[in-house]
Amino acid sequence: MASQADTPQIPPGLPFAKGGVLPCGPCLALGVSADGPEKTTSLRSHADVGTSPFAKGGWRGIFGGHNAKTSTATVHIAQRNPSVLPGFHLALGFTIFYLSLIVLIPLSAAFIKTFTLTWEVFWATVSAPRVVASYGLTFRTALLAAGINAVFGLLVAWVLVRYKFPGKKIIDALVDLPFALPTAVAGIALTAVYATNGWLGQPLSEAGIKVAFTPLGILVALTFIGLPFVVRTVQPVLEDLEAELEEAAHSLGATPWQTFAQVIFPTVLPAVVTGFTLAFARALGEYGSVIFIAGNMPMVSEITPLLIITKLEQYDYAGATAIAVVMLVASFLLLFAINALQWWARRRRGLEGA
């Protein structure tokens, strides 16, 4: 902090007197710091300002509205810093209304419905052996399918980004087929292919491997529907990967394998994990593609979503809802994990970028 000297002339006794005598003794202990602007902090004191924490008038106007004084009695979600662009309340209001109507209220119905059950009945329903067996099956096959997709998804993404081969564009487009193809169609197609008289089922069954109507068939269906997730999350990260990074690794003497393992893989890992989690979440709830190929044998190849349908067909709404709530809670935990993962990935990228 420095206060301003009043005049450009030098008052007596200051360090430098033009043509005068250099002041001596203890008054002069000159130091020099001449390179560039020094970090001097705010210098002039100013009259303090009357402060109001929020912008005058607050947010104003609705879409196309011209009345600057429109003020709503109830404050919705307040903008942190009011923007000049109009339509905030209309857009956000419609968003929340539609979200509540279509998603939140119906979803809450599932939770409210379970309250019509006593805890004992709820527990008996969701922990019945047949139900527990279905959790195990659903969870195991979904996890395994997501694992297969993590490995092959990374491989496919790598091949699509790095290598050129005929038909690459078509292959690239086809990766999204599981997103576009109705699950029922996928289900009957996979069943036809992997049944014991099918194109692939026949040679496999001759080798002693039965796919359709076994848990293995479920795995095939879940691998199919989860296929695009890892490819599509990893692909952009690989594309953005700077060639310089690899060149630097090469120039430092790393082998291609070392470069992959120590430079590339750590960079794409968050994307692989995100894709894996998305594929896993999708597989947990999958129904259409599975029921045709699964065989649906209780305790063996019956997935949890099918159990919900079965209960519904027996008009056991409370029982179906109880199982649904267990699945919903599992999905929400996964969703939370995905969000945490993405946050982690962003932070990682941020750190690497710094």
Binding site: F63, G64, A78, Q79, R80, S83, L85, P86, G87, F88, A91, L92, T95, Y98, L99, I102, L104, P106, L107, A109, L155, V156, R162, Y163, K164, F165, P166, G167, K169, I171, D172, L174, D176, F179, A180, L181, P182, T183, A184, V185, I188, A189, L190, A192, F224, A243, E246, E247, S251, A281, G285, G288, P305, I308, I309, Y317, A320, A324, M327, L334
Partner: protein
């Protein structure tokens, strides 16, 4: 399948000089990796896709044609188109509104809102149908009231439309939100300074800038709307000629062992999926070129 055989990969341009040295020899690693990737994709994508069309024509074109023009199939197709024609525009309007609020303004709870919008993606289709049964079914909250008005939602067309809206809810929004966030607010601010109203800004500045993303979202939304099975299956009641969508019709035919007919109808949906993929790739190329 034949696309597999001549796959001779070579390294792309930006490899380092050292890798070029490797590339002059036979690039075994790329060939092996490409072959493995293509084998995986063939096994899981191409073979099932081919199976749909082969099975559909197994009993000849006449059987195929008969299955496709059968009245139940036609009415199922009509219902599928109707559900998509209602669900897609509604979710489109929602997507634009949500993206406008989220991308152009700062407010508390924004990330929570984004998470909630994504929620339908993490809900099993079966549960998506179930929750509407719980609200509108005869046992549900509004079922008795609706019955009083002689209106039925569940096991009727409105239920199918609602379930379709639910499962396709996030598609447009999640395409638009990141896109509009990335584009920032400067152009909208410029329009405001030049005197444009909110609607003029939205119509002349914002939407033209996101048109490819919008189209992309609409295509994905439409594909899912026409193909949804689990959720619709729960609310439909499977009434032939009335509450059957095309995917449900496929299931019924299949369960009745009318395989050729089932695959004939399935081939229509598969064809639709291929068109979706083609438009999607075209849009992607346009979007990256622009």
């Amino acid at each position: 399948m034949s696309a597999l055989a001549p796959a001779v990969p070579h390294l792309t341009g930006h490899a380092s000089p050292r890798t070029h040295g490797v590339a002059r020899r036979v690039p075994w690693v790329p060939i092996a990796l490409t072959s493995a990737a293509l084998a995986f994709l063939a096994l899981f994508l191409l073979v099932p896709l081919a199976a749909v069309f082969v099975e559909a024509f197994r009993k000849g074109a006449a059987v195929y044609w008969k299955a496709v023009i059968e009245p139940d199939a036609v009415s199922a197709l009509q219902l599928t188109l109707l559900a998509a024609a209602i669900a897609v525009p509604l979710n489109l309007v929602f997507g634009v509104a949500a993206a406008w609020a989220i991308a152009k303004f700062d407010f508390r709870g924004k990330s929570l809102l984004i998470t909630l919008i994504d929620l339908p993606f993490s809900v099993s289709p079966v549960i998506s149908g179930l929750i509407y049964v719980l609200v509108f079914g005869l046992q549900g909250w509004l079922g008795p009231t609706l019955a009083g008005f002689d209106t039925q939602v569940i096991f009727a067309v409105p239920g199918i439309v609602l379930a379709t809206i639910f499962v396709t809810f996030p598609f447009v929004a999640r395409e638009l939100i990141p896109l509009m966030q990335a584009q920032g607010r400067e152009e909208e601010e410029a329009a405001a300074v030049l005197g444009a109203s909110g609607w003029q800004t939205l119509w002349h500045v914002t939407l033209p800038n996101v048109k490819w993303g919008l189209l992309y979202g609409v295509i994905l939304c439409n594909a899912r709307a026409m193909g949804e099975f689990g959720a619709v299956s729960v609310v439909s009641g499977h009434i032939r000629g009335l509450t059957n969508t095309l995917p449900l019709h496929v299931e019924i035919l299949y369960n009745e062992y009318q395989f050729a007919a089932a695959f004939a109808c399935a081939s229509l949906l598969a064809f639709l999926a291929l068109i979706t993929l083609a438009i999607k790739s075209a849009v992607e190329q346009h979007a990256t070129a622009a």
